[in-house]
Symmetry: C2
Subunit: 336 residues, 2 copies
């Protein structure tokens, strides 16, 4: 018979090996979606993930094919009173105004400088494109990154008086982490500017720059006089990663069809359709903004983040629709 002390050591070896090799996964798993209320929506997620990640399941998806794509504005962070990138552009118009005295009298800039909401609402696409061109182009890619990084670190949301990156959705942060823990590669597929998002998505969402797909300006490589190479952002749109552009962007940047996709507006409808049309198990989700107290309530008639046709399709096809008020215990990380 072995002495008792050695039996203890044997147990210790087994414990150490288990701990070293498998971590604490074998211990009881805490709820990965703590900020989601129990109900059919949460269940649709927690049913789907084991279904596609358990070896031997008829719906098993190999790890390298576990692609999950998320819209950004209104899906991962808030988008009211306007897309935050538009708020950035308007702050930037004000900052640049001293260098452009003519803007005081010239639309669309005058509307921004006067904080004239009526005139702003009437600008239309052409006016916004002029504002975007004046604030987002005519500089190198590195300069733009610096400007965007500075704004995101210092600007404050008018309603919450907090940095914009505080307005990310806690339940979605948990969902991103839960998917990654289960071998998914998480991507952003947003109509927003790719170079506007990349400086902060890794810190805010754990999504690195190379997993961010977005709209872009034409960019040109140039050798400066001293031989320094630069990438110049030109005043021309190269790619709009919205609506039918989303499946195109997914195909171009990722090259695989997602098995999991989440959006919140009609701009995401084609991404969800593209995801749904793949073979095997798929998850399609929409965030419905129903909480005017903690966040905002808007859908069919909202000028920002309109949710109309995609909602009807989601209901018809049994996709998951999050009712923010009902399904989210907590909206923002700063809530108590």
């Amino acid at each position: 018979m072995m002495p008792r002390v050695c039996l203890c050591l044997r147990s210790a070896i087994v414990l150490l090996v288990v701990t070293c090799c498998f971590g604490t996964a074998a211990a009881q798993t805490p709820d990965p979606l703590l900020s989601w209320n129990d109900g059919p929506v949460k269940k649709s997620i927690t049913d789907f993930v084991p279904r596609v990640t358990t070896v031997g399941s008829p719906d098993f998806v190999p790890r390298d094919q576990r692609i999950a794509t998320f819209d950004n504005d209104g899906t991962l962070w808030a988008e009211q009173p306007m897309y935050f990138q538009i708020m950035f552009a308007m702050d930037r118009v004000k900052m640049l105004a001293p260098r452009h005295p003519d803007w005081k009298k010239k639309q669309p800039f005058k509307a921004v400088l006067d904080d004239d909401r009526k005139a702003l609402a009437a600008l239309g696409e052409k006016g916004f494109l002029q504002i975007m061109a004046a604030t987002h182009t005519g500089m190198t890619s590195e300069e733009f990154t610096r400007i965007a990084t500075e704004w995101i670190a210092t600007a404050r949301h008018p309603r919450f008086n907090r940095p914009y990156t505080d307005l990310v959705y806690q339940p979605m942060l948990e969902l991103l982490a839960y998917l990654r823990e289960n071998g998914f590669k998480t991507f952003i597929v947003s109509g927003g500017g790719i170079e506007f998002m990349r400086p902060w998505t890794e810190k805010s969402y754990g999504i690195p720059p190379e997993q961010v797909v977005g709209s872009s300006a034409v960019t040109r490589f140039e050798l400066r006089g001293d031989g320094t190479p630069v990438l110049l952002r030109e005043g021309k749109i190269e790619f709009v990663d919205d609506k039918a552009g989303k499946p195109v962007g997914i195909n171009r940047f990722i090259g695989r069809r997602p098995v999991f996709a989440f959006g919140n507006s009609d701009g995401d409808q084609q991404m969800l359709e593209w995801t749904a049309a793949g073979s095997g198990a798929r998850f399609m989700g929409l965030v419905h903004h129903t909480d005017a107290v903690r966040e905002w309530a808007y859908d069919r008639n909202s000028p920002v983040g309109r949710l109309d046709k995609a909602w009807d399709e989601a209901v018809r096809r049994g996709w998951t629709v999050v009712d923010m008020k009902r399904d989210w215990k907590k909206v923002f990380p700063f809530e108590p």
Copy 2:
């Protein structure tokens, strides 16, 4: 005093913990670049990698910034007598010819069908673009993937009578693996078609589709009559990921500047310049094709993979230039 058997168990615990937690890294490391001959070129690689990956080194690069980009044709696999994608296009012209009886008399197709090397050489860019459009577009993205996958699995290289994917370079496979073992994320940045490469790069190089950057055709999302969404490849070039397009592609797809880049021709010059212009330690490398016996020998005057200005710049700036004949013990994996 503890009984001797327990001391043994204690040692066993320590050994198990070390093995479980640190793998066998502490044991003697086998040469990760077995197919590289010793010399300054191999040394430039094996000096650089620990320099940027050792914590406390003045040149340390955090793991998330270890981006390595590789050209494909002539850098990771061969490119003679023509880019393999052109060989694919020509095979495809022959396969499609019965459906296009007019091709027998019509250039550029006639030159392909007659195997008329002189006429082929005289086609110029316009002729090749017509061949590319006829063979690469007018189908869905999925159909193209199927066609490319089938070709790569069955076609054979005229000189070696082997599948084209046998003509990958063994030393570069070792280099890719060595970089990944050291926390680098490896990308292809090629002038070749992105959808031509993606079906086989994971199997051949361990590089997944989302880490392949390449040239692309305009692609359009469309809902078919039965509601099936498709992506249609149209007969228009969207992006040429070559020369000045390479830094643009890197910025668009990856969003970070590489710290390590490898090419083989003037088409890679701007990628190397862009890499070199970053702050901190950088590695820039070129493959010089000097081995007419095992592979091919060509440089300044080659119509395919011309290496002229980039070579001069590499020599002037002290970048690494591989002399294939001298530096590679083995070129292809099938060599004994």
